[in-house]
Symmetry: C2
Subunit: 228 residues, 2 copies
DNA sequence: GTCTATAACGAGATAGAC
DNA sequence: GTCTATCTCGTTATAGAC
């Protein structure tokens, strides 16, 4: 019984994987807005209606691709964090940033899917939230470890932002002080600004040595967020 | 003759404007990837072939929309810089950043067109470069003025990045020292990271008071780039 | 029960003849 | 500039194979 179920499930997982793979190819060729179940089915030699056994709608397929992308990026970030081990917080931060950049460069279309323009007519469901949070959780961990080790530089926090920063800290990292949570989220958004600019072509004719520039910029980012 | 030409030209400009307006509506509804000359023509009660008198191809229409968007954003940045006048460099920087954010929030689809994922199958021609540079030029001006006024804080520059920073400065702002040029470009990319995260939904369930958070983050950005 | 294939719907895009 | 015939799409109902 276990084996029979296992075989069925294995077959199902294989087809599911093949569908997502074909969909990712289409993503690269045509973009998320034009992802079509029929084209995916055609590429697999299936009939479009058969896909509905695996994904209840086109949007659910998109959602699956989005979750996979967030998970793959999150896994890369976690791996880099782990490899950095007990290094100085700045260096852990940089290592995670570089892992994000490397993943983005090797998976440009999946990166665009999650951090690029929203797909018209598609709204990501709540199911994507945990996967989306993974990379952020890694960054939070870097700050947490920094506080238990060499500490953090003092960070300014205007009275104006204090309530929002407190709310934010309570929501994403109750053990971190408000100003650290705020600095971490800002660094997080700015990191992806650097990656997106490189990937989406804004650095064309501007930055040549992108790898070194990135390292320089994220080092500044880390220091600006109080890491040392 | 002048009046006749003038009238003709005025009519042509009006139609051109109407086409771009309809195209922008389509951008909002369907996204840049699905922008189609036919749909634009339909909305205007024209026949698709008539559009080719105004735009030789779909890509040229897209290019015109992109240039318009860069120009509108650049104009907003310039206006904010002008309004800030002789204020402290930090405050000039913040004013420009807030103008960028405000423009992006009021023109989300045009923002996505220029700073979001690339449109599959479309490559922006060199003609877009001057318009794309306008906002950056404003930021460069803030740094230039800062140096002639209260000055800039010292910025670190690793030996590793020195050649690239020197090349960059020579290309975009020969009167600025390499480390300032590098810091300025980094701040530029990070600014758009903040705006994109807010606009593309990454701050959903994370940041509530986005205006205050933005102000806080770009203040940090300005300080990190040496402004005071 | 689990899957695939056929056929069809309504909506929309597209190409070409006129 | 108009019309029509032929595509595409997402999605569903249905029937049959394993």
């Amino acid at each position: 019984m276990t084996t029979a179920q296992g075989a069925r499930e294995r077959a199902r997982n294989e087809v599911t994987a093949a569908i997502k793979e074909a969909a990712r190819r289409q993503l690269a060729a045509e973009g998320a807005a034009k992802l079509s179940l029929r084209a995916v089915a055609r590429e697999l030699g299936m009939v479009s209606s058969a896909l509905y056994r695996y994904f209840p709608s086109r949007d659910e397929l998109l959602t699956a691709l989005i979750i996979d992308a967030y998970d793959a990026l999150g896994a890369a970030a976690e791996k880099a964090r782990h490899a950095a081990g007990e290094a100085a917080p700045v260096d852990c931060f940089i290592a995670v940033c570089e892992a994000v950049r490397t993943w983005a460069l090797t998976h440009p279309h999946e990166y665009a899917l999650i951090y690029g323009s929203p797909v018209p007519g598609y709204a990501a469901p709540e199911t994507t939230v945990p996967a989306a949070a993974r990379t952020g959780v890694v960054l939070i961990g870097v700050f947490r470890d920094a506080r238990q080790g060499p500490g953090l530089d003092e960070l300014p926090l205007s009275a104006e932002l204090r309530p929002e920063a407190a709310r934010l800290a309570a929501e994403i990292a109750p053990d971190l002080p408000p100003e650290v949570a705020a600095a971490m989220v800002a660094a997080w958004a700015q990191l992806f600004g650097l990656v997106s600019f490189e990937l989406f072509g804004q650095f064309n004719n501007v930055i040549e040595d992108r790898e070194r520039f990135f390292r320089h910029a994220v080092t500044g980012l880390a220091r600006g967020a109080g890491l040392r």
